[in-house]
């Protein structure tokens, strides 16, 4: 249908290949990952990001909410103190330490990213799993249920995700939970289509045929055989989805829909706040933007490398 669904469908088929099965496949994929410098770069970025987010209160040199250096700011001249000893990245327009705000802000991104992805993953997996199970278990009626579920799903997929997120945010009002739900909801159709496609691909595999030849019941085949084997592409997607979630969460916060406050800085909000100083203090926009980009890049690098490691056609 679109490039987006093509990508999802391609990923769904990956682990149903005959040449390398299951564990061997992951083992091989992991070996290839370790030799891939881009994957390792992504992994290091993710590791650093997670460590920083977890240890943020101890790492941040100052209180991110304290307007300690407000007195030094000369608004008329557009002067805000830049990097110097004690404020390694300078201070922001309200006299708060920029580095501390960036460090503390990582927590929000990680939290929103993880919760939203979990939400999208869980709901999407249930929807896609049901669809795939109906398809596999109940013959004609099952196919019917499956195609209805999937038509709705494809409609949801076609809606630009930020637009969907904004609509959700408008309904639920602003706040952190809103951002999580909004970003999570946009991931649901992706996971649903992926898991369903993955199950469909697995259902044509040899071990399903072999179990069927032994008289194993369809329900058991779907739940015990097909479902566990269909999860690898979903894990790859979850990694990629974290990148999207972090960017979208920042976007929603930037638009003022998030729940950030002075004590809980957020990269998207910092970006929004920096707008009024763009002409004189560009660095205030650059820091959070770079933080968002690098983090999203980390997840994307690792996720894409995982996809590539699983996909023989993408391999050199």
């Amino acid at each position: 249908m679109s490039a987006k669904t093509d990508r999802i469908d391609r990923l769904a088929e990956l682990t149903a290949r005959k040449d390398e099965g299951g564990h061997g496949l992951w083992y091989e994929a992991f070996r290839r990952l370790r030799r891939n410098p881009l994957a390792m770069t992504g992994a290091v970025i993710i590791l650093l990001f997670v460590l920083i987010a977890i240890l943020a209160p101890w790492l941040a040199p100052h209180d991110p909410a304290a307007q300690t250096w407000l007195g030094e700011i000369r608004g008329a001249e557009g002067f805000i103190p830049g990097p110097r000893s004690g404020n390694w990245l300078g201070v922001d327009g309200l006299g708060r330490d920029e580095l501390s705000r960036l460090i503390i802000g990582s927590r929000q991104s990680l939290l929103v990213g993880v919760v939203a992805t979990l939400l999208g993953f869980t709901a999407g997996a249930i929807l896609g799993g049901l669809s795939g199970a109906f398809l596999g278990m109940f013959g004609k009626a099952g196919r019917w249920v499956d195609s209805i579920l999937m038509r709705f799903n494809d409609m949801a997929l076609a809606v630009p995700s930020l637009l969907l997120a904004i609509s959700v945010a408008t309904i639920l009002g602003q706040g952190l939970v809103t951002v999580m739900i909004a970003v999570g909801v946009t991931q649901i159709p992706v996971f649903a289509r992926l898991l369903r496609g993955s199950m469909l691909a697995q259902s044509h595999s040899d071990y399903v045929l072999a179990s069927t030849a032994l008289g194993v019941r369809k329900r058991r085949i779907v739940l015990n055989h097909i479902l566990p084997n269909s999860m690898s592409p979903v894990l790859v997607q979850a990694t990629l989805s974290l990148a999207t979630a972090i960017i979208e969460a920042a976007g929603l916060s930037f638009l003022g829909l998030g729940g950030a406050n002075a004590a809980n800085p957020e990269w998207g909000v910092m970006l929004a706040d920096s707008q009024q100083y763009l002409a004189t203090n560009l660095r205030l926009a650059v820091y959070p933007a770079v933080a968002i980009i690098i983090t999203a890049l980390g997840f994307t690098l690792l996720g894409e490398a995982m996809r590539e490691a699983l996909d023989p056609k993408l391999r050199k």
């Binding site: 099965g21 299951g22 061997g24 072999a210 069927t212 030849a213 032994l214 008289g215 194993v216 058991r220």
Partner: protein, 351 residues
């Protein structure tokens, strides 16, 4: 009455926008209790499709199955799905070509074996575990208790196939279909697996349909042999008459170069000049005619009828090969038997 009587089995794949594929086109053969029947023929001649049709494992959509397959007098092809599901694994079972992909990679072997015991024999818990271990032991897997906890990738290729055989024979089926069960294995392992199959079917009195490319298997294992070509059985006979006096030019071509019953294991059937792409439709004559050195004009006068001889030989050919000619062909084509040394240097060369 034979255990399985296949009559005019026909399988047609029909997909929208493509010409129908007559993968199996009127196959008939019988399998008696305890008998080993071979299905041989080139790649794509419909051997696997035949076995899948018998097991009811072909997709429902886009596939048309015709004819009859009487198992104990009941037609497998028209049987309700639930009855067939109950029979699969208990009355009849199948072993596939690739043992690795035929096992679920994320589930321990033990669970996959007990699953069958639970399904058909209502066993669970410790008794099922014990029976599973006994089964693995019986198919020659050492230290079965430990193996039950392992995953397919932890087993060697031969062990995996043994585990699959254990599952297939767990409920003492009366019919076992083995679709090239040794093709994916090392030559040395192949012989062991065949020996195991031979023992098991002899012990349990199981009828076996053996699908193979391997001349050694045909010669060493099969009581009856059916040679398939383009979806039809072109020649069927007991082992000795077939090897001694193959009648259909295609069989002569397949078996001709090695006319011995003690053909070494792993020896492949000789390819015939030309390819299946040269085939004509059976309706227009003998599908093999374009590749046949023994062809006459009559070969293109519609499908050749099945000729039954007094020796129990059956063939579909208007100009069969006679005994003297076979002598000539085989004498000319007799090759020195490949020695073990040759085999090793060959594989070294490839590596």
């Amino acid at each position: 009455m034979a255990l399985l009587e296949v009559e005019d089995l026909a399988v047609t794949f029909q997909r929208k926008g493509t010409a129908p594929v007559h993968a199996v086109d009127g196959v008939s053969f019988t399998v008696a209790e305890g008998q080993v029947v071979g299905l041989v023929g080139e790649s794509g001649c419909g051997k696997s499709v035949t076995s899948l049709a018998l097991m009811g494992l072909l997709a429902k959509r886009g596939v048309k199955v015709g004819g009859k397959a009487l198992f104990d007098g009941n037609d497998l092809l028209t049987m309700p799905g639930s009855t067939l599901r109950d029979m699969r694994g208990s009355e009849m079972a199948m072993i596939f070509q690739d043992p690795l992909s035929s096992l679920n990679p994320v589930i321990p072997i033990g669970l996959q074996v007990t699953e069958v015991l639970k399904r058909h024999r209502g066993m669970k818990g410790e008794p099922a575990e014990k029976e599973a271990a006994d089964l693995l032991d019986r198919v020659g897997i050492p230290d079965p208790r430990r193996r039950l906890k392992e995953y397919p990738h932890q087993l060697s290729g031969g062990m995996r196939q043994r585990a699959l055989i254990a599952m297939a024979v767990a409920c003492r089926p009366r019919l076992l279909i083995a679709d090239e069960p040794t093709t994916a294995l090392d030559v040395t392992i192949q012989a062991q697996i065949l020996e195991l199959l031979k023992e098991l079917v002899a012990q349990q009195g199981t009828a076996l349909i053996m699908i193979t490319h391997d001349l050694g298997v045909v010669a060493g294992l099969c009581d009856e042999i059916n040679v398939m070509y383009a979806g039809r059985v072109v020649e069927g006979a007991a082992r000795r008459p077939l090897f001694a006096s193959p009648t259909h030019p295609y069989s002569v071509g397949l078996l001709g170069s090695i006319p011995r019953l003690d053909a070494p294991r792993g020896e492949k059937l000789k390819p015939i000049p030309g390819s299946v792409r040269d085939n004509i439709a059976w309706a227009d004559g003998c599908a093999f005619a374009p590749r046949c050195a023994h062809r006459t004009d009559e070969c293109l006068d519609g499908p050749p009828a099945l000729v039954q001889t007094y020796t129990g030989h059956a063939y579909r050919c208007v100009n069969p090969v006679t005994g003297d000619e076979v002598e000539a062909v085989t004498a000319a084509a007799t090759l020195p038997a490949p020695s073990i040394v040759d085999a090793t240097t060959d594989s070294d060369g490839e590596a």
